[in-house]
Symmetry: C2
Subunit: 399 residues, 2 copies
Amino acid sequence: MSTDFVFTNVRPNGAAASDVVIRGGRIAEILPHGAQPAVAGLSVVDGESLLMLPGLVDAHTHLDKTLLGMPWYRNDVGLELIDLIENERLMKRELGIDPARQSAVQIERSVANGTCHIRTHVDIDTEYGLAGLQGVLASRERYRDIVDIEIVAFPQSGMLIRPGTVELMDRAMREGADVVGGLDPSGVDRDPKGHLDTVFAMAERYGKPVDIHLHEPDALGVFAIELIVERTRALGMADRVTVSHGFCLGMLADKPLARLAGMMADAGVHLMTKGGAASPRPPVLDLSEMGVRICSGSDGVRDTWQPFGNADMLDRAAIISQRNDFINDVHIELALDLCTYGGANTMALEDYGLEPGCTATFILVSAETRADAVASRPVRRAVYRNGIAVARNGALVAA
Amino acid sequence: MSTDFVFTNVRPNGAAASDVVIRGGRIAEILPHGAQPAVAGLSVVDGESLLMLPGLVDAHTHLDKTLLGMPWYRNDVGLELIDLIENERLMKRELGIDPARQSAVQIERSVANGTCHIRTHVDIDTEYGLAGLQGVLASRERYRDIVDIEIVAFPQSGMLIRPGTVELMDRAMREGADVVGGLDPSGVDRDPKGHLDTVFAMAERYGKPVDIHLHEPDALGVFAIELIVERTRALGMADRVTVSHGFCLGMLADKPLARLAGMMADAGVHLMTKGGAASPRPPVLDLSEMGVRICSGSDGVRDTWQPFGNADMLDRAAIISQRNDFINDVHIELALDLCTYGGANTMALEDYGLEPGCTATFILVSAETRADAVASRPVRRAVYRNGIAVARNGALVAA
C-alpha cells in the first residue's frame, strides 16, 4: 500500500469524526470528516468511525526470557527475590529459553496488540554473557519494519557482587544496547554508592540513558532514589533516567512522598510502574499531579517468575486503573496516557502522537471513548507504523 | 442431544486423560481414557484432551444494574461510597437501566464464559421498590435451562435509615428472593445492632441464608464481623452466612487477623472476596489456611460505579492471584478453587464437582493445567449444564 492516503471518519483520541491525511509515513493533516470531500490524488480508507490512538508503548518488558509458546512451567519456586533470580538463571538452560526465539514470540504478540515501541531489559550476567543481548538484537533486526525496540543492558543477577559483570555490561553497551540498567543497589549489590557510580559512569561514557530496577522498600528505596536524583542532576541527565517499579513510593506518608516526588519531578527522573500485584504501588495520580513523568510496561510476560501477562498495553492500562482505584474517566485516561504518551516521553520518541507532523503510527479500535478502550480492550482492528499497516484484527499482516 | 454419552479423552481438573460417562445429566463414571473401548449404547464425544473444570461459580454480582451493551457512561462521580450509591439511584432512571434487559445481557455473557451458578444481589429501595427483583426474576425464569440464579435482597441505599425499606425487603423475601442481604451496619445504617438484628430476624423468619456487604475499615469492620459471628452462632446458621468484601480483614496485623479468622472459621461465616482494586484485600492464602471458607464473584460488571469487569470467573481467578501475589501453581489453583468449589460451598450447591454422582455441569478449555487456565483464560470451548451443552466457543448454543 502507498503510504499516502486519507483515513476518513476516524476519531483521533476520541475527538469528533475526522479525516486524517497520511503522506510519507506521517500525519500531514487532520480535517473535520467530510469537510474536504476529495483530497486530490490520494486513495481513501474508510475508518468506520473507529477510535484512533497513538501506537502503544511498552516501556518495560523482558523479551529475552518469556516462556510464551513454550510448555507450561509449573512454578513452585520460593517467593524471595533472590530465589526467583537464582531459579531463573538455572531454568534458562534447563528449559532451553532461547532469547531470539522467545523475544520473537513476544514481539509478534505485542505488535498484534498495537504496541509500536518497546523498551526491553535484557539480562547480562557471567553465566550467559551476552547471549540475551545477541538474541534480542537478532529479533530487533528481524522485526525492524514493524516495531521499534530499545534495549537496556540489565544486570539481573547483580553487578558488583558478580565480578566480570561490569565488563560484560560495558561490552553490551558497545555491541548494541541503548540504555544502562541497574538493580537494587543496596538490596542486591550491597553497595549503593558503588553500584550507582558504576551505572552512571557507564551512561556518561556512552552518552546513554539509565533505567534502574528498584524493588527496595521504605527508607532503603527512598535513599536509592535520592542517590539517583543526585547523580541525574550532577550529570545533567534530566529526562534520561528512569526508576522502574519504585515500590517505596507506595509506602510513604503524604509529606515524605511529596518531598521525594518533588525531587524526581525537578531532576527529571521518570518512574515506570506496572501497577501490578500486591506490592505497594506508587500512587499514579498523586505522583502525576506532583509533576513526576510516568510510563508503564508489561514487565515479565509469562516467565519463570510468574505466569501472567499478555503483552497488551490496553490491558496494562486497565490493571493500572484498577490498582489505583481509578473509576472516573479522566483517571482511566491518565492510565492510558502512561501506556502511550508517558512511554514515548521516557523513551524520547520523536514526533510521537496524533498531531500533524507526527509519524503515522497508531492503532484503530472499536470503542466509544478512550476510557472505553481501556475497559473493553477490544481487538486491535488495525495497527499502523509509519503509515503502513503491520497488524489487523489481532494478527500480524504478512510481511 | 441425548444426555447419555461418553466424553472421551478429557482431563478432569487436570488429571490424566479420562473418559467421562454422562447419564441422566450426571457424571456416572470416570474411566482411564481408552480403558473400556465401547460403553454399550452410548454415543461418544471426542474431548480432544481438553481440560475439564467444574462449572464456574459467580457468587457475588449485581445483574440488575450492569450497563453492558448500553452506550458508554462517562463517569465523573465523587469517590465516596455514598456518592456512588446516590448517583446510581439517580442514573437508573436517567439512563433507563432496565433490570430485566440488563440482567439478560450479563447472564448471556456469563454463561458464554462458563459460569453455571450465579448469586446476584438485587437492589431493594424505596425509590424503585421491587423493580430490580422483578426484572431479575423474569431473567431467571427465561434462562432457567442454562444457569442457576440465586437472588439476594440487597438494601443498597440503606435499610433502617430509609423507612419503608425493611417492609420492602420482607416483600422481596416473599416474592422470590433466596437470601437476606445487608450493608455496612454502622457506616451506612448507623445502627449495627439494629441492622444486624433485623437482617438475621428476617433470615430466621424465612429460613434463608444471609449475605452482608461489609466495606467498613479497621476496628469498625472487625466489630461488625464479631456481631455477625455472634448471631450466626446464636441462630445455628453455620455455613449460611457470608461477609462480602470484608476489607477490614486486609487491614489487620497477624494476631488480630488470626483471632477474627478463627472466629469466622469456627462459626461457619464465609467470606466473599473479589480481590480487586486498591482497597486492602483480605489475604486469601492466610485466611484459607486458617479455615475460613472463601468464594468470589464479579461484583459490579460495567456499572455506574466503575467500567471494568467482563463476567469471566477465570479472569476473576487471575485478578485474585495477582492481587494476592500468587505465582506458585498451588496458589493459583487456590484462586481457581474460590471461583468453583468455594462458590459452590457458599451457595450450598448439591452434587457439585467432577466426581461420579455429581451433576454433569462443567466447562472444557484448551489449557495444559488448572493454573494455565487461569493465566491464559482461553475461550470456553464448551459449557455443559446437567449434561447438555449450553455454550460453545464463547457463544451460547441457540435454544
